[in-house]
Symmetry: C2
Subunit: 465 residues, 2 copies
């Protein structure tokens, strides 16, 4: 944007907001230029902080009237660049809309603003005997608005599903600033098209949620957690498949491979020496004895598939230490090598052992360290490529392409919960047909004809002739 | 349609299908003119029976080219008129596409054609130790394609969700005949817009599924069923709310009120004399003792809320008799009075007792018998108005309007699982804003600009000036 058009946009936005809600200083712009992806640095020209639905709508209308690109953002914890202001313009932060408006024990619902931190809702719900299951790794700082935009998952998705499964209704601001209420407050409902379904996971390209009605469930009374240690990641993968085939559905079956174990070992939690892979299995329910029975059966199955040890967390503090180690993986891997790229692939469950072997072989072939961990129970793995610096980037690009090819060839998807955003945009055509991409581009155009809301995300750039 | 244009359509369709797949005899047309709703009789001019995706696509293209309306249908078990050929034209029956293509124990998935009867998939899955939870009352004859179109629910939705929660991917024929694959085969995935979400529940107005990839879950090893008998429906409603508030989530909490009990009593199952209402509570899981504990706790809560008796089914045959009685309710009510209208409302859980009282009072005020039964645990009630004949129809219309007003005023929705179709079309504006209706109409136009696919459904007729 030219200096003149930034100044004009600034003045117009101050008019519909207030001076304290519109920022253009270097440091604010810098901090809204990046997220948790490695997708690049894109500083916005302006950052605005609306505090109400009316203000969000006014910001959208103003940007449309001036032809200025605008991109919503939450905690900027996204891993695919969804909130990066690719073409500059206005970053629309929803973080000041951070109130929990209602938690109803009788209705098993919560109504929240988009800037509420996911972990805060979890805590408030649990204090009331309720439970909000979706638990992205970043739950201590990510926001529910971002979770809705990305359809965030997490370890507990194995049993409980993802964000989309808990969104009943939305107050939604369309790209032109129109405000709609879609969905409902009831558990069931089929009146009209499922626009909630379409909007959740639309990655900030079809509008933004300004109020979210969520379904909660009764909090399971008991949780039991086991750490199962294996010699090799392949044994762990086969055990995971066998546990599910036996009809056991734990709430998590998290895998940590050898490289990931090395990164976190000793940092608050000590894994048994010589561990080649670990699985964190967690079961929950209302009857404690039932959980012991289930965990014992799970342990036996794992032992039949070569588990060296099954350690059951004896109290909440042990359990919390174990999970802290799991959550640390992503950051701890950065200590092994200066750079990493995390791919968020999913394969059908039967292919979990195959993909794990294939990723290991690929790393060896290319001479790159690959750490694989994540939600193996539902086939959703985070395959991390570790590398030394930009000189290795071409090799890394090759590795990514090969990984995604392997994934798609096994009937998988290139993103399980992180979204396409900018990071996966050029790979989407590996998975989706030209006809499907064309339809989705037309849908984006239907909602946002001038392509000003979070422009150029998700869909591969059209070839210009 | 004129005789001439019917003849032309007939010949064009025979060309893309075969003579045995295109019918225009009176008796076929008659049987495709109605469904399980009381929404009217609308004979199609032609009925076609495509046997492949290519044929479905060819039928759609032919109808578009000739400007002939076309309406997909399955088992015609719908309760809102969704498959009625409102403007005549071509009824497109998917019933010959009835193969189960794959059931994978390792992937926990099934791939089916749309004409597969829901109960058949359930049986095949259960034989393999798997479970397909959505169980619309009509599961013995309805089809999965219809379930997808309507986003069908059922008693087990309380714990397991509705059809939408199990659809991973679709092969989908758009109104113009283009064939797309949307969604995926993996449990998780967020690549691109969630078109599966948009298409499921679109009631045959945005296209039709020609192949459905479904998620299955491990079959719970044990199921325990209890019949809880109350003096009054109000006591039953309060007990249901209390059970959920205590953190117990059975797989069903079905309510049968006094009128519905009277209709089915003695027809294969004898309810204790003097029963004023009954609740069928069913719990499932892998550890049998855990289920007894849970059922005992549920029984105690019900007794604290005035339950007269808690009877646990002692074997599968007792259990099946109880469920047969529940499934019989809808038909048996027709024996009490010659006519009935079933409304499929949902209220937030806290309002279950309120709506039940209000419906009873409404029936008394208007001098109509109202039977209320259904999936009370998730707030989804089937309120049936029984009446003698057409002379009472104006009174019935008043009752419907008042019921839906009550529902919406309590934060509810006018349809929980039956769909809007034709039956609820003129009431949708009670629940949804003009802006939302406008957007949905524009979306329909986006997908089907000539409005030939299942025309004039879901959205209220526009006032013509």
């Amino acid at each position: 944007m030219t200096e003149e058009s930034v100044a004009r946009a600034h003045d117009a936005l101050v008019e519909v907001l207030s001076p304290g809600q519109v920022r253009r200083d270097e440091s604010t712009r810098e901090s809204y230029s990046r997220d948790e992806s490695d997708a690049g640095v894109f500083p916005p020209d302006l950052v605005v902080f609306p505090e109400s639905t009316t203000q969000v709508s006014a910001v959208f209308r103003t940007c449309q009237a001036l032809g200025v690109p605008f991109t919503p953002c939450g905690a900027r914890s996204g891993k695919s660049g969804g909130s990066l202001p690719l073409r500059g313009g206005v970053a629309v932060s929803l973080e000041r809309m951070n109130r929990i408006l209602d938690v109803s024990v009788e209705d098993l619902t919560a109504v929240v603003q988009p800037g509420v931190v996911t972990g805060e809702l979890m805590r408030v719900a649990e204090e009331k005997g309720l439970f909000y299951p979706p638990d992205p790794n970043s739950w201590e700082f990510c926001t529910l608005g971002g979770n809705v935009a990305e359809n965030a998952g997490g370890p507990r998705a194995l049993k409980y599903g993802v964000t989309r499964d808990y969104v009943l209704g939305l107050e939604w601001v369309l790209p032109d600033g129109e405000v709609l209420r879609v969905g409902r407050r009831t558990i069931k409902g089929v009146a009209g098209y499922d626009l909630v379904g379409l909007f959740v996971g639309s990655e900030g390209t079809l509008g933004v949620a300004t109020e979210i009605t969520l379904q909660l469930i009764p909090r399971p009374r008991h949780v039991k957690t086991a750490l199962v240690v294996f010699d090799s990641v392949h044994g762990a993968a086969r055990a995971i498949t066998a546990v599910l085939a036996a009809g056991i559905l734990p709430r998590t079956l998290e895998l940590i491979d050898e490289t990931a174990l090395e990164a976190v070992d000793g940092r608050g939690f000590n894994f048994p020496p010589g561990s080649g892979a670990a699985v964190i299995a967690e079961v929950d329910g209302n009857v404690e004895e039932g959980l012991f029975t289930e965990l014992a059966e799970l342990g036996e199955i794992c032992e039949r598939h070569g588990a060296r040890e099954v350690l059951v967390a004896q109290d909440e503090s042990q359990r919390e230490k174990l999970w802290a180690a799991r959550r640390l993986v992503s950051r701890a891997l950065r200590a092994l090598k200066p750079h990493k790229i995390s791919e968020d692939i999913v394969v059908p469950r039967s292919r979990i052992p195959d993909i794990i072997l294939a990723l290991k072989a690929l790393g060896e072939e290319l001479g790159l360290r690959v750490a694989t961990y994540g939600h193996a129970g539902d086939g959703n793995l985070h395959a991390n490529i570790l590398y030394d610096g930009p000189h290795q980037r071409p090799l890394v690009e090759t590795a990514i392409l090969r990984m995604l090819e392997l994934t798609v060839s096994m009937g998988g998807t290139i993103t399980g919960e992180h979204g396409v955003g900018l990071a996966k945009r050029e790979y989407l055509a590996m998975e989706q047909s030209e006809a499907l991409l064309r339809l989705q581009r037309r849908l984006k155009h239907f909602f946002d004809p001038s392509d000003l809301l979070n422009p150029e995300k998700i869909f591969p750039a059209l070839e210009r002739s």
